[in-house]
């Protein structure tokens, strides 16, 4: 782990779940501008790989473990000397409608996507209050805005996460901490982590496309995060931003574009 204290003009950032997919894209994007980034993840091989590629600092931590949360925030502060931007990105997916969702899968999804976000938020709020440009940005999902039957527990966890964002926006706003959510649509490479440990194939053929006729990228999501974390987003608080190519804009949005891979 590199140990240096960030220069005062840089955005001191922590990204949870930054070792792959959208999280890695966020680490890369923030690292490409004036930000000092610490990111967490469970897989140290992937973490060290992203560290090497981006120059950000990897701290191994599992958001489901309250002790990991505390120690990783402590480690981040040692590296950064404070905190301006917390990005709650760690999440897991489980492919099942609610009626077919086991207790184990339900618990794993809620522990990671909701409780993990709550734990990082309360661990970081005291640090964020000391910042002049403080923000929390949660990576939620378009499934929070409009649930998807095939990913039931995930949809529930993200709806609850959006509400966590809005309650935090109200309670932390007076201290100047802005709290917002980015709600991506189908993104590739997206959620690398499934509850069962299955990794995504990256094959998007067969996905229904939004009106913009492509799947989203990690960069699309990272750009929205960069906006919320920057002074450009200074008056955004409790905002739930869809980054989904228009998929949740209409009851029939998916009917206007062909499936990915269609000629």
């Amino acid at each position: 782990m590199m140990r240096h204290v960030a220069a005062p003009e840089t955005l001191r950032s922590v990204v949870t779940g930054g070792t792959s997919g959208i999280g890695a894209a966020i680490v890369e994007r923030l690292g490409s501008q004036d930000a000092a980034v610490v990111f967490t993840g469970r897989d140290s091989a992937r973490g060290l790989d992203v560290e090497k590629r981006t120059g950000a600092t990897f701290v191994q931590a599992d958001v489901r473990d309250p002790e990991d949360v505390r120690t990783s925030v402590q480690a981040a502060v040692e590296v950064l000397g404070g905190l301006d931007a917390l990005v709650l990105n760690a999440g897991v997916l489980h492919d099942a409608p609610l009626s077919q969702t086991s207790d184990e899968a339900w618990d794993a999804v809620l522990e990671t996507n909701l409780i993990g976000s709550y734990l990082y938020a309360i661990a970081c709020l005291p640090l964020l209050r000391a910042s002049e440009n403080a923000s929390i940005t949660a990576i939620s999902s378009d499934a929070a805005v409009w649930g998807e039957t095939s990913i039931g527990a995930y949809s529930v966890s993200k709806r609850a996460l959006n509400m966590l964002v809005q309650t935090l926006a109200v309670e932390a706003g007076p201290a100047g901490v802005r709290v917002n959510a980015v709600c991506p649509g189908d993104t590739a490479p997206g959620m690398a982590t499934h509850v069962e440990g299955r990794a995504e194939t990256g094959d998007v053929s067969g996905w229904a496309l939004p009106p913009l006729a492509r799947v989203g990228t990690g960069r699309d999501v990272a750009a929205a995060v960069a906006f919320f974390a920057s002074p450009d987003g200074a008056f955004c608080n409790g905002s739930l931003l869809l980054v989904d190519g228009g998929m949740r804009a209409s009851l029939r949005a998916s009917a206007v574009a062909r499936q990915a891979g269609d000629p």
Binding site: S99, D103, L114, L125, T149, L164, Q166, T167, G238
Partner: protein, 258 residues
């Protein structure tokens, strides 16, 4: 008394039926001629409601997953395997911001308000699917639609409840299973249960803001909607989220002091 909505002889399970909205639902569904089983933590309160309404009390704390499972099986046994309506109402409240909500309390609210409701619904969903359908009614809250930061963790769990209800609605429609979320505004008497080790929620509506209708809601207000949702009168309604709040949710800024 004849049923308003043709519910005579049908069977309902109400979770958290010993007080507040749940109790009002038990009473109303009994008045409609339904056979009703209800759960609750307090045997004393449960027996009072049983004496009053003639419903079957099942002592159960939904924090305990095995006890919660047993309670649903018991309800199914009591009615010889028939279940037409589930009213998933059991819930607890904690007053405080997210930061003021200790981790164990956050987890407990999630367990009771969201996970237990999901688990009871999942079991009833399977039963209804195998038996030609049914109506699931989830008691959420207007705090699940828009944040109420003074009861932040409650707000978070109730947002999840609405999502659970919508998703079961979408999934259950082909099987004749309907699932709707009811979102009461301020109700007197309202949620009385609190996390373990915390004092009963001291309610003082005197300091609350009245809805535009000029009064707070009652358990009976909610129970009327629940009875209608349990009946065939609402046959084409599923996956819906219904506010019952005297206009509060529609009226940004139109508020009067109680």
């Amino acid at each position: 008394m004849t049923s308003t909505y043709g519910l005579e002889g049908r069977v309902a399970l109400v979770t958290g039926g010993t007080s507040g909205i749940g109790r009002a639902c038990v009473v109303r569904l009994r008045e409609e001629g339904m056979r009703v089983a209800f759960t609750g933590r307090s045997r004393e309160r449960g027996e009072t409601v049983t004496a009053e309404a003639g419903a079957d009390f099942i002592e159960c704390d939904h924090r305990d997953r095995e006890a919660s499972d047993r309670a649903v099986e018991r309800a199914l046994d009591l009615a010889d395997g028939r279940l037409d309506a589930l009213v998933a109402n059991a819930g607890i409240l904690f007053q405080g911001s997210i930061e003021a909500t200790p981790e164990d309390v956050f987890r407990e609210l999630l367990e009771v308000n969201l996970t237990a409701l999901f688990r009871v619904s999942r079991r009833c969903f399977g039963h209804m699917r195998d038996n030609g359908g049914g109506s699931m009614i989830h008691i959420a809250s207007d705090a699940g639609i828009r944040a109420v930061h003074e009861i932040a963790a409650y707000s978070v769990t109730k947002a999840g409840v609405i999502a659970v209800s919508e998703l079961f609605g979408a999934e259950g429609a082909p099987y004749g299973i309907r699932s709707n979320a009811v979102c009461p505004g301020d109700i007197v008497p309202g949620v009385q249960a609190t996390p373990a080790g915390h004092e009963e929620h001291a309610e003082d509506p005197a300091g609350w803001v009245l809805p535009p209708s000029g009064r707070f809601g009652t358990g009976e207000d909610v129970a009327g909607l629940v009875a209608w949702l349990a009946s065939d009168e609402s046959a084409h309604m599923t996956g819906a989220t219904l506010r019952i709040d005297g206009g509060t949710g529609a009226a940004m800024g139109v508020l009067t002091r109680g």
